[in-house]
């Protein structure tokens, strides 16, 4: 535990405001500073998202003693911040697993928030000496990676799955480790959908800039200077990225069809209609713009499956197999129509 680097093998020093001390449990405050808030915003927008980590190990929150509860979490700093903020006023131990800077649910899906790592951390922290009881509270969403009965067999510690959301921890502990039905359910409200939307927008940003540069270059080549045509050529792409990246997540429950590619295509068709009403184009270019918008929004909607809380792998496989060829054809046809249309 604690060799000065975070111990995850990435070779990077831990990027954290928490002090990475060796040996005994470290203290963890429950207050969130402006720096934490700013850091959270940065990773939501994809800036150094995979390097936002906390040193794994056992932490002291408040003034815990040998009878205090032991909570377990992942070492994504955004996760640790959410957890420690929700622990204000409590005296607990927090065992941070090395999930390579990934949140609990995703890490559990990969197995890094898993039985092996948990057993190893319990032993490394010498937890049997630190507390008298033999109970652990894990986030419910960690269950995908942890087999409670195997942890019990290997360490003697009984696993209690706590609430899904950190903000319910205090109520869960106060109720004697009893979760209400609501605490056990994953939700995906509009705030949660918008919070994860930037990932898709950022992923689309680089191709978007490349296309904008290409449209501008073509315009320069044809007209020996930037004209209004350049803006007209860029608009479908901008509309598609805003629609696919922001409107689709926001309107997800109200878009028809279950397949995300279909949801995205519907949103894209509406966006294309609105754009063409606002700025009419000749027929060939209009068809090209509409096809491009629908292809992009459909693709972006499909990749949003990974950010949601209810999609199945089997369903995504089927959807990708059916929709991806059509999306590629629509994109190619759209590009040909739009650019040839512009030359006619």
């Amino acid at each position: 535990m604690g060799q000065g680097s975070c111990g995850c093998g990435c070779g990077q020093p831990p990027l954290t405001t928490l002090s990475p001390l060796e040996g005994p449990p470290r203290n963890l405050t429950t207050t969130i500073t402006w720096r934490d808030v700013l850091g959270g915003w940065k990773v939501r927008w994809g800036l150094r998202r995979m390097k936002y980590r906390v040193t794994p190990g056992l932490y002291r929150v408040g003034m815990p003693d040998s009878g205090s509860p032991v909570l377990v979490t992942a070492n994504y700093k955004l996760t640790v911040d959410t957890v420690r903020r929700s622990l204000a006023g409590l005296d607990v131990w927090l065992l941070v697993l090395d999930t390579k800077g990934v949140n609990v649910w995703c890490a559990a899906g990969k197995g890094t928030f898993g039985t092996t790592e948990l057993v190893r951390r319990i032993q490394a922290a010498n937890l049997r000496e630190v507390v008298k009881h033999r109970e652990l509270v894990l986030p419910q969403l960690g269950a995908t990676g942890v087999a409670a009965h195997e942890v019990k067999r290997a360490t003697g510690f009984s696993v209690h799955y706590g609430p899904v959301r950190a903000r319910d921890i205090a109520a869960y502990l106060a109720a004697g480790m009893q979760a209400t039905r609501a605490m056990r359910r994953v939700t995906f409200g509009w705030k949660e959908r918008l919070a994860v939307a930037p990932v898709e927008v950022v992923a689309a940003l680089r191709p978007l800039l490349a296309v904008i540069a290409l449209v501008a270059a073509l315009d320069l080549f044809r007209h020996h200077g930037l004209t209004r045509n350049a803006l007209t050529g860029m608009l479908p792409f901008l509309a598609a990225v805003v629609t696919g990246g922001v409107l689709v997540p926001l309107l997800l429950p109200w878009l028809p069809f279950r397949a995300f590619a279909h949801k995205g295509a519907v949103a894209g068709a509406l966006a294309a209609g609105a754009l063409l009403l606002w700025r009419p184009l000749p027929a060939v270019e209009a068809a090209g713009a509409a096809l491009l918008i629908v292809a992009i929004t459909s693709y972006m909607a499909m990749t949003f499956t990974g950010s949601t809380t209810f999609t199945t792998l089997a369903g995504v496989r089927r959807e990708v197999r059916r929709a991806l060829p059509l999306i590629l054809i629509a994109a190619a046809a759209g590009a040909i129509l739009q650019f040839t249309g512009a030359f006619i």
């Binding site: 429950p253 279950r258 199945t312």
Partner: protein, 91 residues
């Protein structure tokens, strides 16, 4: 919200079940309930096949073809010619 093929691969062998209630505890979508000391699938259509129930069933009474429903992972596996070995590669 419902998706495609929700819960299609989920099976529960009541004969093996000891009624411990772990599946009900870990399921994020309320698919299970323990009725008369046996688990039962109450809401299959909400199942996202995450695999938490199977992972925590000490009696091996549950099977499910679990995985992460992420198109980016599916597409990158297809490009590697590796469908069936989808690995999520982001945080």
């Amino acid at each position: 919200m419902r998706y495609l093929l929700n819960g299609h691969s989920l099976t529960l062998d009541a004969a093996l079940c000891n009624g411990c209630g772990r599946c009900e505890e870990v399921c994020p979508h309320g698919v299970f309930a323990v009725v008369e000391r046996k688990a039962a699938i109450m809401d299959r259509a909400s199942c996202m096949e995450c695999g938490a129930c199977r992972m925590n069933c000490a009696m091996n009474a549950i099977t499910v073809s679990a995985g992460v429903g992420c198109a980016a992972a599916v597409i990158s596996a297809m490009r590697r010619g590796n469908t069936g070995a989808e690995a999520c590669s982001c945080g």
